[in-house]
């Protein structure tokens, strides 16, 4: 029974892609068909293993409600990325199996990350996930931009993880254990020691980098702009959610005592949201716009998590799942808009409603969801998060978050308006965009999901509440 867990299937999928990468000749058409099916099998296994519970390997690896739910969300993101990357245009044909291999190993790392209960497992999983992503960025065959971005990404990344390991070592010394729950149990004793603060913040450096919180957010715009669109969709959603899960697990384990760190979390959340939203207002490249917007979205997620209440965390999980769908759809639209995988300026959206009404509608729904407009899932998620914040007493934070949300509306609305207006289009600049039937179905599905889960949130919310119920 335990064989059919998602980890096994991810390992099998990586072996599958690895074997393809060893071939001299890659038959791309056959390969592309298989890619989608591989992702689907992994998704099935995640759904199947949703009910697995247990503790493994001397308690370093735990499967509980929370981890299995997050695994489903992560693998869903992985599957959507594979599905939408079936014919990735800016990676050389002979490198394509490695492309999918690294996506798979990265997901494997993240899946292990959400189940980890011990510092060693955490570190190993995080590194597995990160190295795969470092390798994916330079695969884009677009020259100077991707090389520079990849070196920036890897250097900041390994710096962050180096600092994190040093922090882990200090934490290990202070608490004499590497198990997260035991560390959390000793928190009340450690707050007075300055060295603990050093250790704690160093340990968080790696995760702040993954989540692109202030102050480790500077890599985001460059890497997003220069990387392959599908990979960036993956990084912006799945990898953020994995980082968020670790943060949530730590908060859940620490419980009420973690409120000592409130001021810091609030400051980081406000800084992240504000920097993200204000910088996005002036962007001219769609991927950079989405990069800054995703920095801000991570800020909203932090608002939900820092409440450490049942409401806050279940709201954050709901919003994370909604964010997955919205952001992946937004990047999908960009990949459809770009010719041969080149970057897309914001003006390229003009007249989209004529080129492909379905794509324009999908753009409208996903951007409105990101902006938090009812009755879409983004609005409902923000409602849950902000009301949880007020409920736990963080009034000022909620007010700042609401106003940040309103500021962000401006840049989302500008893009949507361009998509639907018909001014400023040069004659003959409008070729229709044909979507494959599979992609059309994806568009309809994502619209339906965003509207339905936004208007009827109770189905998913009871799921999220159940998953963390054991901690409260």
């Amino acid at each position: 029974m335990w064989f059919y867990s998602v980890e096994t299937f991810l390992v099998l999928a990586s072996l599958f892609f690895f074997s393809w990468s060893l071939r001299k000749e890659v038959h791309l058409t056959l390969f592309h068909k298989l890619v989608g099916w591989a992702g689907f099998l992994v998704l099935l296994s995640a759904l199947f293993s949703f009910d697995f519970r247990g503790v493994f390997f001397q308690e370093v690896y735990v499967m509980d409600g929370f981890s299995q739910l997050m695994k489903v969300i992560l693998v869903l993101g992985y599957f959507i990325t594979l599905f939408l990357a079936q014919e990735v245009k800016d990676v050389d044909g002979k490198h394509q199996p490695e492309f999918y291999l690294f996506l798979t190993t990265s997901t494997l790392g993240m899946v292990v990350l959400v189940s980890a209960k011990d510092l060693i497992t955490l570190y190993t999983a995080l590194e597995l996930a990160s190295y795969s992503l470092y390798l994916l960025i330079p695969m884009r065959s677009n020259g100077k931009g991707s090389a520079e971005a990849s070196i920036k990404y890897i250097l900041i990344g390994i710096a962050a993880s180096g600092i994190m390991v040093y922090g882990f070592s200090l934490l290990f010394g202070l608490t004499q254990t590497t198990y997260l729950n035991e560390i959390a149990a000793q928190l009340p004793l450690l707050y007075q020691m300055p060295i603990f603060w050093v250790a704690f913040f160093f340990s968080l450096a790696g995760f702040f980098f993954k989540l692109s919180f202030f102050p480790f957010h500077a890599w985001t715009p460059d890497v997003y702009e220069a990387g392959n669109t599908q990979v960036i969709g993956f990084i912006s959603t799945v990898s953020k959610i994995a980082g968020l899960s670790v943060l949530i697990r730590f908060m859940l384990l620490a419980g009420e005592t973690a409120h000592v760190l409130d001021d810091v979390w609030v400051a980081i959340a406000i800084a992240t949201m504000t920097i993200g939203n204000l910088s996005a207002l002036i962007q001219k490249d769609l991927k950079r716009l989405l990069a800054y917007s995703s920095i801000a979205q991570a800020g909203y997620l932090l608002v939900g998590v820092l409440c450490i209440s049942e409401k806050g965390i279940s709201g954050a999980i709901y919003y994370a799942a909604a964010y997955l769908v919205m952001n992946l759809t937004a990047f999908f639209i960009i990949s459809q808009l770009s010719k041969n995988g080149n970057n897309v300026p914001t003006s390229a959206v003009k007249g989209l409603f004529k080129r492909s009404p379905l794509l324009a509608l999908t753009l409208l729904i996903s951007f409105f969801a990101l902006a938090g407009i009812p009755p879409l899932a983004g609005f409902t998620g923000k409602w849950f998060i902000f009301s949880a914040a007020v409920n736990s007493g963080y009034n000022v934070l909620a007010l700042v978050a609401i106003f940040n949300s309103i500021i962000s509306l401006y840049y989302y609305l500008m893009v949507v308006k361009d998509a639907y207006s018909d001014e400023g289009i040069e004659a003959g600049g409008l070729e229709p965009i044909r979507l494959k039937p599979a992609y059309q179905i994806y568009c309809y599905l994502s619209i339906a999901v965003l509207v339905v889960t936004g208007f009827f949130p109770h189905l998913f919310m009871s799921l999220t509440k159940q998953s963390i119920a054991v901690f409260f």
Binding site: E148, I151, K152, G162, I163, V165, Y166, G173
Partner: protein, 103 residues
């Protein structure tokens, strides 16, 4: 071996600071990778020190060290392959020359 924990901790802290400085100040990509190795090894020394002097399960610190060594090796492998890609594109490994993308 010295029987006091403090010198080892000072050593690892010093290594960490040197590594951090190198990370921020060196211009050559290889130099930056070496600095990162210094940071990781500082952490390793910490683990081993705590494993020796404190009341922990002796194996844990040493296992963590082995993991860090292995992962550092993998990291360098990945890093060097990316340095190669960068060299092919820019013909230099001077970090200051790579500023085409806006910050």
């Amino acid at each position: 071996m010295i029987n006091d924990i403090t010198p080892y901790l000072i050593l690892s802290a010093a290594l960490f600071c040197i590594g951090l400085y190198g990370l921020l100040a060196r211009r050559s990509l290889i130099g930056i990778l070496i600095a990162t190795e210094l940071i990781l090894n500082a952490a390793n020394i910490n683990f081993l020190t705590f494993s020796r002097f404190m009341d922990v399960d002796k194996a844990v610190g040493q296992i963590f060290t082995l993991f860090v060594i292995a992962l550092a090796a993998a990291e360098v492998a990945v890093g060097l392959s990316i340095v190669l890609v960068v060299y092919r594109n820019f013909n230099t490994i001077n970090v200051e020359k790579m500023d085409h993308l806006k910050g």
